[in-house]
Amino acid sequence: MAASPPDRRARNLASGRARFVDDAIPARGMLEVALVYSPYARAGVLSVDTAAAAAVPGVRAVLTAADIGGDNNLSPEAGEMPLLAAGSVEFHGQPVAAVVADELAAARRAADLVSVEYQPRPPVLGVEEAIALQSFHGPELELERGEPDLDPVSFGGVIGKGLAIAGQEHFALEPGVAWAEPGEEGEVNITASAEDLGFVRRGVAGLLGVPMSRVKVSCPRVGGSFGGKLTGALIPAGVAALAAQVTGFPTRVRFDREDEFRLTGKQNAAYAEYKAAYDESGRIGLLDCVVYLDGGWAVDRAPSVLRNILHHLDSAYFIPNVRLTGRVCKTNLPPNTSTVSGGAAVAALVAEEIVAEIGARLDVVVEAVRQRNFYGPEDGRGVTHYGQETGDLRLGEAWGRLLERSAYRERRVEVDAWNGTSRFAKRGLAVVPAKVGSGAPEAEARQASATVSLLPDGSAQVVCGEVEIGGAMRRTIAAFVEDQLGIGDGELRITAGETDQIAASHHGELHAEAVLDACRQLRERLRLVAYRLLQGRGIEVTDLMELRFAGGGVADIESPAEPVPLAEVVRAASAEDINVSATGYSSAAEILGGRTFRDFACGAAAAEVLVDGFTGEVSVLRADVVQDVGRQLDPEAELGLIRGAFLQGLGWQTCEDLVWSADGELLTAGADSYLVPTAAEAPAQFEVELLPSYGGYPKEPGPAAFCLALSVREAVRDAVAAFGKVKPGFALPAPATPEAVYFALHARGD
C-alpha cells in the first residue's frame, strides 16, 4: 500500500502531541469525582447516608438524586433513565451518589463511606428470562410483506431455530471523560469526549434545569466512540456539570476502564427465533422471525436498533414473504445502545445462519445458495421487504470481483483437498455478502446547518457541529467545498466540535449536506461577479451557469487555463456588498426523499480459517474484502476504516465475550478479561479492495465491513463441518470462542 505523505494532524497523533479531552491543561487541578455504585442488579434504595463521606477532609459535596435541579433523566427516547439512582437501583454498578473532592484519592475514600440501605429484589437477567416474564419496553414492532401465512411446507423445505447472539462492548480506547466549568452567570461550559454535542447539551440542560442556551459543549477530538459516546457521554458530562453547578468549581470526571464497562450500555444481545421455507433450488420463499433485543433496564437506542435489525434481516437476499417482529426486553443491565453496524450485523448473522443451513440440507455449496437468493432485476426480485428499490445495488459486481481476487474457486478445491489429508485440523472457507442501508438518521437528529465564509484571500472557513473522530467527515466536507468552490484542503479551515457555534448533531452526512447547500449558495452569488471579471479580461464566457470553480480560481469551461483568482472574485463581491458567507441547511427528510434509506452500501468478503480439532482454537489465515463505498474521497482511509470495522466484527464473533455472574455483575469488566482482538488476531493476510468510485455520496464503509466479518463465522462453520461430526444446521454459538468451537465438535463430558 503506497501511503500518502502524512499531514500535521497525523504526525501529531503519532507522536502524542494531539490533545484529547483529558490532555488539556485546564483539566489539571480541577475537583475530581468518585461514584458510589450499586452492589445489586435490582434493589429498592431505602436510604442514602452521606454524612460520613461529607466529613472527609477535601470533600466538597456528596451528590445524590436530590441535588439534581432539573429532570433526572438521560433517556433519548421515551421513558426514564436517571443519572443518579432515585428510589431504586436497576443494574449492578448503577451510580447512586457522586463524591466531589479536591483529589481523587479523597473522593474514593469518601465514596466508601457513603452508606446506602438496599432492599434487594430478584433481577431479570438475559433475554430468555425477560421473555419468560414478559418483561418488555414499548410495543412490538412488525414488518410484513407478501403472504407470511402460507404453509411453509408448500415451498419444499422448512428450517427453524432459536439463536442467541451476544452483545459487544464498544471498547473505545479512550474511556469516557468530561469536565465542566461554571460560568459567571449560571452557565456551564463543558468539554467532553462525545459523539453528539447537541445531545449532551440537551441532556445536561435538562439535568441542571437551565435553558439549553446556558450550556456550551465542546470537544477537541474523540478517542473512539462507535456509538458508545452518544448516551454514554452524558454520564460523565452530566456528573461533571452537576458537580460544577453545586460546588461552583470546575470539576473533572474520568471513567476508568471498569466504569466504562459497568456504567455504559453496549451493543444489545439478541435472541432470534425463526422459521424459513425454501425450495429445491435453495431460494428462500418465506421467513417468519421474531427478534428479542436486550434493551437493558431503560430505553436508550434499542428501539432504533431493533427497527434497523428488522430492516436488515434480508441481508442481501430477496425474500418474497416475510413476517418480522421485534421486541425490546427490559432486563437489569445498563441501557444498551447504538453501535457500529446499528444492528445490521445481528440481522445479517441470522440471515447467514439460514442460508448456511439451507446449503447444508440441500448438500449444495452454500455460496451458490447465497448467490441464488441475491436481489436482482428479474421477477420483481429487486424490492426490499419495506418497499425500497435496490436498483443501484452493486452487489453482483462486488461479489464477482471478490470471487476473482480471492481466487475463491481454486482455493475451495485446495482447501477441500487439504482437509482430506488432515484429520485433526481443518481449514474452512466462506464468502458472504453484505448490504447495509445508509443515510437513515435516527429520529432525534433530523436537521443540521453549517456556515461557509469566504475570506478575502480566497481561503475559506467552515463552521459546523461535527466532531472530530476519525476525520472521515472532515474529508467529505473538504471534498464538497473543493467540488463546489475549487478551494483546496490547504486553504480550508473547518471548525467543529462546539455547540457554541451552531446547534450540533452527530450525523455527519447531514452536516456535509448543509455545507454543500452553503457552497451552492455562494457559487450562485459569485457567478455574476466572476462573469464580469472574466469579461473584463477579455475572456468570452460560454455558459454563465457552467463556470469552472477549481484550483483557487474561477474560469470559463472552454478556457480553464485562464482563471480569475477566487480571492479577486471574493474581494470584488465584498465591494459590491454581496454577502460572502452563507449558511446552509439540510434535513433528513430531504436526503431520504421518502425512502427508508438513502441508498445501500454493499460488499462481499471471503475468509479462511484453521480450526484446531484438539482445542477448538481458530486462526484466521486470510480475509479478502471488496466493498462499494460510493464516491471515494480518500481511498486509503476507506481501506483503513474497513479493516478496523472488520476486526471489530471479528472480535464480536470470536474472542469478545461478555460474562455476567448469576447476580448480574459483569465479570469481564477489564482489558484483561474482556478480550478485544490484538494484532495477532487480525487475519494473517488481509486484502481489501474498493469498487471503482462514482459520483454522489460517499457511503460509510464501517457498517458493511463489520457485517462482512461474518465471513469468519461462516468459515468456522465450514471448518467445523469438515470434521464430519456435526449434523446439518448444527448450532454454532455466537461468539464462537475456542470453547464453543470445541464443544461443537465434541459432546460435552465426552
Binding site: 500500500m1 501511503a3 505523505p5 502524512p6 497525523a10 497523533l13 503519532a14 507522536s15 502524542g16 494531539a18 484529547f20 483529558d22 490532555d23 491543561i25 471498547f171 473505545a172 480506547l173 474511556p175 477530538r221 478517542g223 473512539g224 474520568r254 476508568d256 476502564r257 487439504w418 489429508t421 488432515s422 485440523a425 476519525g470 484453521l610 484446531d612 484438539f614 482445542t615 477448538g616 486462526s619 489465515l621 480518500d634 486509503e636 482511509a637 476507506e638 483503513g640 479493516r643 478496523g644 470495522a645 476486526l647 471489530q648 474472542c655 477489564g670 484483561d672 478485544v676 490484538t678 494484532a679 495477532a680 487480525a682 470462542t737 475456542p738 470453547e739 470445541y742 464443544f743 463430558g749
Partner: protein, 506 residues
C-alpha cells in the same frame, strides 16, 4: 531514609519529593503535561500508556525497553531514565516509526498511536532481524479499536526497511543510550504518608528488611496487577515496599556446572533473549506470555512467588526439571520446582524467604551411545484470545525414547487447570516403559483428563479445561508421531510468520 529521589524523563532530571509511593509513573507524567501516554485501562492490558525505559537486553547491553507506565510506581523509576512518545524524535523530526505510523493514521481516532509508536520504537531500536511474526508480536500489547492493525505492521516494516537503508543507523534513539549498562541504584525512600520504599543492593540486605518489616510487600517487576486478581502490583497500598530490582546477583544469567542459573530478577524478555534459541520451549512460551511490555518487566522470581495457576512459565520450567534456590536469613535451600507450590497462590516459602534463582539442568545427551535416542519437547497454550491472554490451559511435554522407540523418561506438565501448575506423575508412570504409539498415548490421555481438579470461571468451564489437558497431549503426539519427523501440517501460517519482515532484496 531519603525524602526524595531523582529520575530522568526525556533526558530532563525530575525530582520527586514526598510524593506518595503509590503514584503511578503514568499519573505523574500526565500531571506534568506529558500526555502522550494515555490511561486507557490502568492495568497493563492495553499499552496506551507505553513509555521506553532504559534497561538492558539479553546480553546485558543497554537497551530501550517498552513498558506500561500504569504498572510502574514512581519510586520504581528512581534513578532511571524514561523516554515518552513526545520525545522519541530527534533533530526536529519524528521517530522513524512515528513518521511511518503517521502516514497511515488518517482513519483511526489516534488515541492508541503514541503507545503504539513506543512499542514499535523498541523493535526498531533493538536492531535485531525481525520475522513477520516478531513484527506482529511486537504490538500485541497495544490495543487498537480503529485500524485493524495492518498499519502498525506496515509502519514497522517500512521503518525497518528505512533503517536498513542508507543513513538508517543514525536515525532513532541510539544516541540516548548510555555507553555501558548502568545498574539500578539502591534506594530508601519514605513518602509523605510514611510509606517506605526500599531498594536494597544485596540479598542479605533485602532479607534483613523483610525481617524488620514482616508486613512488607516484595516487589519485582510489579506486573502481576495486570492479571486482575493479585493485589501485589504497582499502586497497591502497603506500609513498606521492598523492591528487589537493584540486586545485581538476581539479574544474572550464568552457567553453573551442568546447569543454567537464572537470577530470580531476570525478566521474561531477557530470559527468552538469552535462552530461547537453546531451549525452544522457553522461546515459544515467552512468545505467548503476556505482551512485550509485560515481558520487559515481569520476572521469573516474581511469577513463581506469586504462583498464578495459569503461569505459562511454570509448566515449562517443570518440564525442564528446574529447581529453585531460596534464601532466608537462616540460610540457603534448594527445592525442586514442584515442591514450591502448595495451593492456589500459595508457596512453600517460609516467612522472610525469597527466591533468588532458578536452576535449569542441561538435558541428557541424545543420540548414538546415549540411553536417549530421541527427545520430543513441546509447549502449548490455549487462551480465549490467542495472544496476550492468560491460559485457560497450558502444557509442556518432554518425552524421551530409547533406540527401540520405548519411552525412557517423560515429563508431562500442565497449568491453568488446577490450583497450580503441576506434573502429571501418574500419567508419566503409565508412559514409561511403553512403546511410543497411539495405544499408550490414548491411555495417558484418559488419565490426564481426570488428573487435575479444574474449576470454571469467566474464561472457561472446568469441563473444557480438563478436556484440553488431554487434547493438548494428543496434539503433541500428532506432531511427534514419528520422532524426528515434523508431521503437523499448519498450512503455512507458521512459515508466513517466520519470514523475515524486511526482505533482503525489497
Amino acid at each position: 531514609m531519603q525524602g526524595d529521589f531523582e529520575f530522568l524523563i526525556n533526558g530532563t532530571p525530575h525530582r520527586a519529593g514526598g510524593v506518595s509511593s503509590a503514584t503511578s509513573l503514568l499519573g505523574y507524567l500526565r500531571d506534568n503535561l506529558l500526555v502522550a501516554a494515555k490511561d486507557a485501562c490502568g492495568a497493563g492490558g492495553c499499552g496506551a500508556c507505553s513509555v521506553l525505559l532504559v534497561d538492558v537486553d539479553g546480553r546485558g547491553e543497554p537497551a530501550m525497553r517498552a513498558v506500561n507506565a500504569c504498572m510502574l510506581t514512581l519510586p520504581m523509576v528512581a534513578g532511571r531514565s524514561i523516554w515518552t512518545a513526545e520525545a522519541l524524535g530527534t533533530g526536529g523530526q519524528l521517530h522513524p516509526v512515528q513518521e511511518a505510523l503517521a502516514s497511515c493514521s488518517r482513519f483511526g481516532c489516534g488515541y492508541c498511536l503514541p503507545g503504539v509508536s513506543v512499542a514499535l520504537a523498541e523493535a526498531y531500536e533493538g536492531r535485531r532481524e525481525l520475522s513477520l511474526g516478531d513484527v506482529v508480536g511486537q504490538s500485541v500489547g497495544n490495543l487498537c479499536r480503529c485500524t485493524g492493525y495492518q498499519p502498525f505492521r506496515d509502519a514497522l516494516v517500512s521503518a525497518l526497511r528505512d533503517r536498513a537503508g542508507e543513513g538508517g543507523e543514525q536515525r532513532g534513539l541510539a544516541g540516548h543510550l548510555p555507553p555501558a549498562a548502568e545498574g539500578v541504584s539502591p534506594l530508601a525512600y519514605r513518602d509523605r504518608d510514611g510509606v517506605s520504599f526500599y531498594r536494597p543492593e544485596t540479598v542479605v540486605e533485602a532479607l534483613r528488611l523483610c525481617q524488620a518489616h514482616p508486613e512488607a510487600r516484595l516487589l519485582a517487576g510489579g506486573t502481576s496487577r495486570c492479571w486482575g486478581d493479585d493485589p501485589g502490583g504497582a499502586g497497591a497500598e502497603a506500609a513498606t515496599m521492598i523492591s528487589l530490582e537493584a540486586i545485581v546477583e538476581l539479574a544474572e544469567i550464568r552457567r553453573y556446572g551442568d546447569a543454567w542459573r537464572v537470577g530470580a530478577g531476570v525478566t521474561l524478555a531477557r530470559f527468552a533473549d538469552r535462552l530461547g534459541d537453546e531451549l525452544p520451549m522457553v522461546g515459544e512460551m515467552a512468545r505467548r506470555f503476556g505482551s512485550p511490555q509485560i515481558r520487559n518487566r515481569a520476572t521469573l522470581g516474581g511469577n513463581l512467588s506469586s504462583a498464578p495457576h495459569h503461569s505459562d512459565l511454570v509448566p515449562v520450567l517443570l518440564a525442564l526439571d528446574a529447581g529453585v534456590c531460596v534464601e532466608g536469613l537462616d540460610g540457603v535451600r534448594s527445592l525442586r520446582l514442584d515442591e514450591l507450590f502448595t495451593g492456589f497462590r500459595q508457596t512453600a516459602l517460609a516467612e522472610g524467604e525469597i527466591i533468588t534463582a532458578i536452576t535449569i539442568p542441561d538435558l541428557p545427551q541424545v543420540g548414538e551411545g546415549a540411553d536417549v535416542a530421541h527427545r520430543m519437547c513441546g509447549f502449548f497454550k490455549v487462551s480465549k484470545r490467542g495472544s496476550n491472554d492468560r491460559a485457560i490451559a497450558n502444557a509442556a511435554f518432554v518425552v524421551e525414547l530409547d533406540g527401540a522407540g520405548v519411552v525412557v523418561r517423560a515429563r508431562l506438565c500442565c497449568g491453568g487447570v488446577a490450583a497450580y501448575g503441576a506434573r502429571a506423575y501418574e500419567a508419566e508412570e503409565k508412559l514409561v516403559g511403553e512403546p511410543w504409539g497411539r495405544g499408550a498415548v490414548q491411555r495417558v490421555a484418559v488419565e490426564l483428563k481426570g488428573l487435575f481438579p479444574a474449576s470454571s470461571d469467566q474464561r472457561a468451564t472446568a469441563g473444557y479445561r480438563n478436556a484440553l489437558v488431554a487434547g493438548l497431549w494428543q496434539k503433541f503426539f500428532t506432531q511427534n508421531r514419528d520422532p524426528g519427523q515434523p508431521a503437523y501440517a499448519d498450512v503455512g501460517l507458521r512459515d508466513l510468520l517466520a519470514r523475515p519482515a524486511v526482505a533482503a532484496d525489497p
